[in-house]
Symmetry: C2
Subunit: 411 residues, 2 copies
């Protein structure tokens, strides 16, 4: 089995991109990705296959068969192209299948893409499009959608381990702070800044950030979760290049080495699970990734963790082994997961503040590791030159979990 | 790179399955697949990952995130699961990505699934669902759908190389004859039998089969193509098992060895092509597959070729190198591609008569090779124990092409 390196990666700003199609967004991400390859890349000559994650093009753009669409758009017609779909982990599944292809020796260099153009539908349309990541027969038939599914997890967590919605706001506050430092983030504003803006506009006052988050300006979505507990509707794209480690020095002296990979599933329907406060798929995926990498959770210096809802950052931070069961919430409150904390999580603002264009999210997480592990994260840079990082990208209500461990390499 | 073997495969009947969901169909295919593994398989113990091709679950069943749905349904929750989508080549892309995963050494045994539950929509709905395999902006915007795209190919073929719609009926007649011998086929009837039935029902007479095919009972769809030039709307599922060749003898002494694989793309929109009578993606895919297998087209004893429309069997039979450019139609008329001919094509009835549940088609093609190369094809059996066969499964208007070469092996 060949080793595999990440040799370049690019990302659009996550936002509502009114006048751009998904293909426009991918072209933008590609242009940036090309500039990140230290010694340059000629995509027409070098790229042997393309893997693209896009969760629901059929509903957002009345489009499917997205592989050859993008090879044509990129001037790469002729190379093989595959679309992969694993709900919100769609681009991680593109990364995984692209990894298999390079590890097998079939291709030496491949391109991984992720994209979602969500704002072409209204909120009701997007809610419906997202809902098909759950089980249509056994879940959607009851009327539940994703905020409701994660609200059940939050209720069970608080019931089992204590803690409250107020405690959970540590995640909201942290991720909005981190997002305020990220020029690619959809919401580049701390909660205090958002509160101040609303206070001025509405002629009201808030005692503090929590007073704002507890007000009618942060309306309930599904008890106990409120608006600012939910990741937003976003447009965005990301593109990455993988190369066989034996030849990656043609492109860079500072690749990120894929040191571990773990992939697992849980029941699609949460009715099949005996504990909503643990992601069993993540437990298994993380175990496999750590084992392959020959490390333990303690070795992870920075992590990107799928905070589609605030509660999920807590649940996953425990399932990944960073914190013991039931202690993740307290750790977030103590500031351990801040950029300056001992276990930094979602330094880019996370899905919560950076945005969550579903199919792009997995590669966007990897983009943050690229910047952090190479010391290029600017104001968000984690101290002491982190060398090893992890991404955990899940699909649906954690029914798919994909974990990757990257290590800064030298060629 | 590890070698990869096919160790078992199963297929539902292709039909309108009114009271079954796609998951029911896959369970049925799985049950058959298990029985084909000569020495038995324990899927809970043996299967390490699942790859499933389903083109448009979002529109047919308001469902996506189909990987963990099926691992749950099969009692395999926990193993990694991926959905791949390449339009009508969706299950061939599952086969390709599953192949990469086994060839890389990451997994030793994987399950490949393909399924489509199309009849939940009416004809207009299915036409719309299929249309998203073409370019929404540059093709569908003009009002064209798939019969129109392939009709343009037929017109260009007749214009360039001569021949007529009447000549093309050699494909219709052959594939319906072959389908009449296939218990899994949607239409198990020769054209003569269908003509006779209609003659009795309507109180009319037909001179011969061509007289029937030229009548109002075979209405025009897109000139020059008529109803019987088009594959039908179908429900169906297929399941296959791949294993690392080093351990496949645990399961069978008679695997099919994957000897060659070739994957390529063309422009998604036909406007980007300079010749509609050649599938450039298939030319490239076939070249790669032959090269990897170390053989030439002359070595292929039996082939499954994507006849979504009759004209495409002709075009692809040339692009695959079986016949020189412009001679494929004459070869079909001469009977060369019949079961008893020198170059048998679509012995199972092809998409035309067997049916075309889009996501299941690629694996269904492989199923026919399994039966033929193992000498288990009954009345359809090609003479002289064929040893090497090929599948060519395309997506959309040949924008994706995936070619696999199988050889009967011994363990």
């Amino acid at each position: 089995m060949s080793d595999v390196d990440l040799i370049g990666i690019g990302l659009t700003k996550f936002a509502k991109h009114d006048n751009k199609t998904s293909r426009d967004l991918l072209a933008e991400a590609l242009q940036e990705a090309i500039t990140t390859v230290d010694k340059g890349i000629n995509i027409r000559k070098d790229i042997k296959a393309l893997f693209v994650g896009y969760f629901t093009p059929s509903l957002y753009e009345h489009q499917s068969h997205y592989g050859p669409l993008i090879t044509e758009w990129f001037g790469l017609t002729g190379i093989p192209a595959f679309r992969t779909e694993s709900a919100c982990a769609s681009s991680s599944s593109a990364l995984a299948t692209g990894y298999f292809a390079v590890a097998s020796g079939v291709y030496d260099i491949v391109m991984i893409c992720g994209v979602e153009k969500m704002t072409s539908l209204d909120t009701s349309g997007v809610t419906d499009a997202l809902s098909i990541a759950a089980d249509d027969i056994f879940e959607l038939g009851t009327g539940i959608t994703f905020p409701g599914l994660f609200a059940l997890m939050a209720q069970e967590y608080f019931g089992k381990y204590g803690g409250s919605w107020e405690d959970l706001q540590a995640v909201t506050l942290k991720n909005h702070y981190n997002g305020s430092l990220n020029p690619k983030a959809q919401f580049q504003a701390e909660i205090s800044a958002i509160a101040e803006k609303i206070a001025i506009k509405k002629g009201v006052t808030f005692k503090d950030e929590l007073d704002f988050l507890n007000s009618k300006y942060n309306p309930p979505v599904a008890y106990p979760l409120r608006l600012f507990d939910c990741s937003p509707i976003s447009d965005g794209a990301a593109v990455a290049f993988l190369a066989n480690s034996e030849i990656s020095n043609r492109f860079t002296d500072r690749p990120l080495h894929i040191k571990g990979i773990g992939l697992s599933t849980d029941t699609l329907s949460i009715a099949g699970r005996d504990d909503l406060t643990t992601s069993k798929a993540t437990l298994k995926a993380a175990y496999m990734a750590y084992k392959m990498a020959g490390i333990t959770p303690k070795d992870i210096e920075i992590a990107e963790v799928h905070d589609c809802f605030t509660i999920n950052e807590i649940i996953l931070s425990e399932s990944l082994g960073f914190f013991k069961k039931g202690t993740g919430l307290a750790m977030a409150q103590k500031g351990i997961t801040k950029i300056i904390g001992d276990q930094p999580i979602n330094t880019d603002g996370g899905l919560k503040s950076k945005g969550h264009p579903v199919g792009a999210t997995g590669i966007a997480m990897v983009n943050e590791l690229w910047e952090q592990l190479r010391g290029e994260a600017g104001e968000r840079q984690v101290k002491d030159n982190p060398r090893i990082g992890l991404t955990c990208n899940v699909g649906g209500s954690n029914a798919s979990s994909m974990v990757f461990i990257f290590e800064r390499g030298t060629n």
